[in-house]
Amino acid sequence: MLSKIIHLEWRNLTSNRWLLISFLLLAGLILLATLNRSYHQEAYLMKVDEVRQTQSAEFQNFVADHDSVTAGLKEIDNQRINPVFPFSLEVRLTPQAVFEPTGLGVLAVGQSDIHAGIFPVRTFSDPINKASVFYNPTTDLFGSFDFAFVLVFLIPLVVIAFSYNILSEERENGTLQMVMSQPVSLMAFLISRLAFRFLILFGALLVVLILSLMVAGVSVSGNISGLALLSGFAALYLLFWFGVSLLVNLFGKSSSFNITALLGVWVVFVLVIPTLLHVAVEKVHEVPPRSEALVEMRNAEEEAMSLDRDEILDRYFMDHPEFIEAAEGSSADEQWRELYEFYKWFYIVRQNIAEAVSPIVDDYYSRLEEQQEFAGRISAFSPAVVLKEAMSSLAGTSPAHYNHFHTSTELFRMEWMETMRNKMLREQFVILDDLDGLPQFSYAPKDVNNGFARAAMALSLHLLAVCGFIVLFRKKAGL
């Protein structure tokens, strides 16, 4: 019997011209979305490469200059860029913070169109200005076309178009009686039909996705665990929509009622709930505006700069006598000493400013994290939001990833600042052997496994809820 149903289904599906056309269209859109993002990702990686090449060229120049200066072959007037003087590290060997998306970065644009992924980090970089690139706000408003959009927004509509009349059609065509007379329960008949359609759609989706990834040059075997997770999420999401469709069919209304009701559910879950959740997040977990932090930072800067220079140095050395001793062993002559004195003051002031503003900066980033955490929890209200967030986590482009990147950058800046300050306070010259010991920025993508478990749970709960309603209404409908 089952094989007969499947056989019939297959013939039904293949004879439906519109369905085939929309299938092909969808496949085209998925390919386009993947290629679109892979173009952007490649452009980004090329830029990273370019910056790294410039860096290594600068490094070689630096070493060559250093050699010439120490050998007495070259004189440099501007000591700020003299490779033997530590400040030159700040301007000539400026470290770069580089954000790295995961191997599946092409799946979801996430926040990668908003944030700069690569920027220089210096002692005097602004800790809250996130170094935006030059941007066009209109393109950011409408957003880029990615696979996440196709899966979250469009696929449910395909599911609906695929199943809205699964029962009502039989009734309207007058074939319901015929189905009822078969030795299989109506429920089993409906479920096997839907299951078949689910498998076809899901299978096709996976095949198209994998082919698109291959065309885009993304390694499939290298991202197998990520893809497995994604297929799991997608399967749960599709099943949820098939379930909703079955549920609406059980009400026993006309096809035209079913489709409008299903569309209503889609609008609520995909368009309405997310906007309401956004309002809730803004209300409940407000992030302190950066403009306030800015005012505080400027105050701190003025305050630190307005103190008497000698007073600042005296106060600092009272607390840190070890540096007086260290500086005594320095080989710097009188002229260098003067320069070092200035930069000692400069870096101590920078440290004072950093200490004064760090509570504000920390507060800002931790509140952002709390907000993202809260948004993650309440996103469980809509499977669409859950899936979209899970996909940007898989792609490594989620807001949490960028928050982690920015806080890592800030930590690195502190480390770099300390290294530079110590060199100045000890009146050390730059030695080539030291260069390897300089702090290096390294970005380890945020561990988001926690989020995946939560996403899987939320999606399963939605599916379970729909199944529960189906069981409930099945009795009511007498099936």
Binding site: I114, H115, S132, F134, T138, S392
Partner: protein, 468 residues
């Protein structure tokens, strides 16, 4: 006859529970959007005023210093939101709000709200415009998709024909029925929104004419969807098919086309990246005088001394360092004008390409018009940015000239609070309605084109039915 059909159509819509439910949902969402938009607007305005005041205090309380040092310390200007932003926030979340005004450098606006957002906002922002532009067409589709198919399915089609009901009257009746429902929903909501915007204290005058034009734009947009819905309903055999077709049209118009054209624009006309911009600046800035490098201004020194008939810079009646800084500043400004005109034209090219999507989607011209009328589009952002740049030039000139005229070359001069207090004031006025409409003539043309074509479509139905 027409009135009777319209009445019947209208009554049927009221009787249907799902239409009532959908209408109610629209009203509730609109209410929620209005309330949250108002709260957001007022909060943002408070924050902005507070921050601007803080920056002003920073500036006034700064220690005595060389006025050019103060130009480096600079100030920030925060972009105000027009009160119509309450309807349509446009690109405001995506464009920076804080402009750092300093010597030598023209900065891109910082602190984009979107940088501090969760992923939720990418689903759409609950504003009145979101309801009116994105969701309202769905409501129209819902009440109109079966206008003709239900007559076919219910068997009343034949009855109508046997009663010799002229098809154009039937069409007009159906059209009027749907249009009246839409207007009955729109007009009270629009009036309520007007009252709220009027009551909010905000930036920019509330002009009734301006607001009404916005209302007309939305109404024309709805007419397009009403016409499309009736056309599709006419040509469909089944209600389900009509609905799916209309849904597909809606999705393509509001969700798919904007994203596709954005992607095409980013691909075909990419924005210059920071390195390219830096290079552009370097090229534009090479040669010329660097205000901080005396050796770059030897020729200028000679000329000025000759002009004043003096032997040394110290003999000049002003501080040459201030003059040099100002001359250097003008070179900087020129280079930045060049760079920013490039960035601006890159944005314009992208936007022009996205506008081509308007040929497939009536959503795009309306979205663009709505943002423009609310002063929340990218043009307004640039308008403000240009005003800030002109101010920046005044601000830096004021400080450099203070150094120039309050001291002589070689002297150490520290300016104090009186100098800080007398800095030029910044003021900005929104462009008038005429200017906005002129800039939007392309979008207006596209909107009228859509309205015209959709009505033509309806007419073809009529002529066809005349034959049958």
């Amino acid at each position: 006859m027409v009135i009777r059909i319209a009445k019947k159509e209208w009554k049927e819509q009221l009787r249907e529970k799902r239409f009532l439910a959908a209408g109610l949902l629209m009203v509730l969402l609109f209410g929620a959007a209005l309330i949250s938009s108002k709260a957001y607007y007022e909060k943002e305005q408070d924050l902005r005023l507070h921050a601007q005041q803080g920056i002003e205090e920073n500036w006034l309380n700064q220690r005595d210093k060389n006025p050019h040092g103060a130009a480096h310390y600079g100030i920030y200007l925060f972009k105000p939101e027009s009160r119509l932003a309450l309807i349509d926030r446009g690109v405001n979340r995506y464009a920076g709000t804080a402009f750092f005004v300093e010597g030598h450098v023209r900065n891109e606006a910082q602190f984009r709200k979107i940088e501090d957002e969760t992923g939720l906002v990418r689903f759409g922002e609950l504003t009145p415009a979101y309801i009116l532009i994105t969701l309202m067409p769905l409501f129209i589709i819902l009440i109109g998709f079966n206008a003709f198919t239900k007559e076919r399915e219910g068997g009343t089609w034949k009855m109508l024909q046997s009663h010799n009901v002229p098809m154009h009257k039937l069409l007009l009746g159906k059209w009027a029925g749907v249009t009246i429902t839409v207007l009955m929903l729109l007009i009270p909501l629009f009036m309520l929104m007007g009252l709220i915007i009027y009551s909010v204290s905000g930036f920019g005058e509330f002009s009734l004419a301006h607001y009404l034009i916005l209302g007309v734009v939305y109404t024309l947009y709805y007419l397009i969807f009403i016409n499309l819905t009736l056309i599709v309903s006419w040509f469909s055999k089944k209600s389900g098919a009509a609905f799916i077709t209309l849904l597909a049209i809606w999705i393509v118009a509001t969700l798919v086309v904007p994203k596709l054209f954005v992607s095409a624009a980013q691909y075909l006309n990419p924005m210059p990246d920071t390195n390219a911009v830096a290079e552009m600046y370097r090229d534009a800035r090479t040669g010329g005088i660097d205000g901080h490098v005396p050796s770059s201004a030897r020729e200028l020194e000679r000329q000025v001394m000759e002009e004043y008939g003096v032997e040394t810079l110290e003999d000049l009646p002003f501080n040459f360092a201030g003059y040099r800084l100002q001359v250097g500043e003008e070179y900087d400004t020129k280079a930045y004008n060049y760079v920013f005109s490039h960035i601006h034209s890159a944005i314009s090219e992208q936007d022009a390409l996205i506008r081509r999507g308007s040929l497939i989607s009536p959503f795009l011209p309306v979205r663009n018009l709505s943002m423009a009328m609310a002063y929340t589009d990218v043009n307004n952002h640039w308008d403000f940015s240009e005003a800030v740049e002109l101010y920046r030039q005044d601000f830096v000139r004021y400080l450099n000239e203070d150094l120039m005229y309050s001291s002589r070359t070689g002297e150490t001069y520290l300016a104090g609070s009186d100098v800080w207090a007398a800095k030029p004031d910044f003021s900005y006025e929104l462009p008038g309605m005429g200017e906005v409409l002129k800039a939007q003539s392309g979008n207006l043309f596209l909107l009228f084109g859509w309205v015209g074509i959709s009505f033509l479509g309806l007419l073809t139905i009529k002529s066809k039915s005349g034959e049958g």
